[in-house]
């Protein structure tokens, strides 16, 4: 599904319009692109996906008061991948999952509880080197 979303945004005509609007709304309007309608569609789609993800999560791990902490973990994933990169979120999610599992297995003995903090530590260091995230778009600068 993530890959489908990626295709939609990168290759389809609709996705190109979405990216155009997100970069320069006024310019899009001047070309007659119906920005309001497309933005409504994007919001709808994101609501749909969030709901779906929530339902899947509930099925997989149940719902309890610790759910907040899961929500917290989503931020490092999004930031690490790059806020504007769908593929980045996929890759970052996978990467952090693997790192967490490894740390759980090998580091927990020496640093108890470190696994909880790991995603945030990783994000900190990655942002030092790539402020736009691993797959985010580089700011265009021309001299």
């Amino acid at each position: 599904m993530g890959l489908g979303l990626l295709w939609l945004l990168r290759k389809s005509r609709y996705g190109i319009l979405v990216r155009a609007i997100s970069e320069r709304e006024v310019a899009a309007l001047a070309l007659g692109i119906p920005t309001a309608r497309i933005l409504a569609g994007v919001w709808g789609l994101s609501a749909l996906l969030a709901t779906l993800a929530g339902a899947l999560l509930a099925v997989a791990s149940g719902v309890d008061h610790n759910l907040v902490f899961f929500g917290l973990k989503v931020f490092p994933v999004a930031i690490l991948g790059g806020l504007d990169a769908v593929g980045g979120a996929l890759a970052a999610g996978f990467l952090l999952g693997v790192l967490e599992a490894l740390s759980q297995r090998y580091l927990e003995a020496y640093l108890p509880g470190f696994t909880e903090a790991l995603p945030f530590v990783v994000v900190l260091f990655v942002l030092l080197v790539r402020p736009y995230g691993l797959f985010g778009q580089r700011e265009i600068e021309r001299v």
Partner: protein
């Protein structure tokens, strides 16, 4: 085709940008709108394109008629459908998209086949764009960006094209090239053109008529020939100033204008 009547525009309710401007562009005609910084040229463009609300501005008084329809408070999408395309100032392309994607975005109303043909036509006209069609548009040179913008405007299939300061930041040779391209497009497609410029010399070469805007008002109106013969226009916009009593003369003329 386009008729602006006594248009008054304010920003944030208090800043008066246009103070009763009237202007016309006829079918197939090329008109230049000249004027110094802050004269209200871009405000007029925004008003015509229905984009004022995006700049915290609104039309206080007056009318805009487009292709015989009342369009004063029409939304930008509706205006674009009627056949007006405005290229705003400051190279408003999508810098993170490639030229191909920029063109696809601009041709959003075209069916796939027409879009493909339209893009081929643009690339045939501007071979440089074809070479760099998969690079991010933000890295194109100023001249290439301007050509891409013209290509994008073509794919919206306009009947009236409004271009705001295409010469800005371009070398004189490129300015000349942009003007020639505009002229050629107008001929081939039978477009009407409203060219907003500070570079009067460049603009005068390709237009039929001229308006000069100053402090929100039209201070000169006439054919391109008349503009070139007019002392004031020549002095203020073509830099042909007389030596000696320059300041005094300037003051006297200015007074006569306003």
């Amino acid at each position: 085709m386009l008729a602006v009547e006594n248009l008054k525009v304010v920003y944030r309710g208090v800043i008066l940008a246009l103070d009763g401007v009237s202007l016309e562009v006829g079918e197939g005609e090329a008109v230049a709108l000249l004027g110094p910084n802050g004269a209200g040229k871009s405000s007029l463009v925004r008003a015509i394109a229905g984009l004022l609300p995006k700049f915290e501005g609104r039309v206080l008084d007056g009318k805009v008629r487009l292709f015989g329809r009342e369009a004063t408070h029409m939304d930008p999408v509706g205006i674009s459908r009627l056949g007006l395309t405005a290229i705003l100032e400051g190279r408003p392309l999508f810098r993170y998209l490639t030229p191909v994607e920029n063109l696809m975005a601009a041709g959003h109303r075209l069916p796939p086949k027409a879009l493909k043909e339209g893009m081929e036509e643009v690339f045939a006209r501007f071979p440089r764009l074809y070479e760099r069609r998969h690079e991010q548009a933000g890295y194109l040179s100023g001249g290439e960006q301007q050509m891409l913008l013209l290509g994008m405007a073509l794919l919206t299939r306009p009947r009236l094209l409004v271009v705001d300061e295409p010469s800005l930041g371009l070398a004189p040779k490129l300015v000349e090239e942009v003007m020639q391209t505009l002229e050629a497009l107008r001929r081939e497609k039978g477009l009407s053109l409203l060219l907003v410029e500070q570079n009067a010399r460049a603009a005068l070469g390709i237009v039929d008529r001229v308006y000069v805007l100053e402090r929100g008002r039209v201070v000169f109106e006439g054919s391109a020939k008349e503009a070139m013969e007019d002392q004031d226009v020549m002095e203020f916009y073509l830099g042909k100033e007389e030596v000696g009593f320059r300041q005094a003369r300037r003051y006297r003329r200015r007074k006569r204008w306003v």
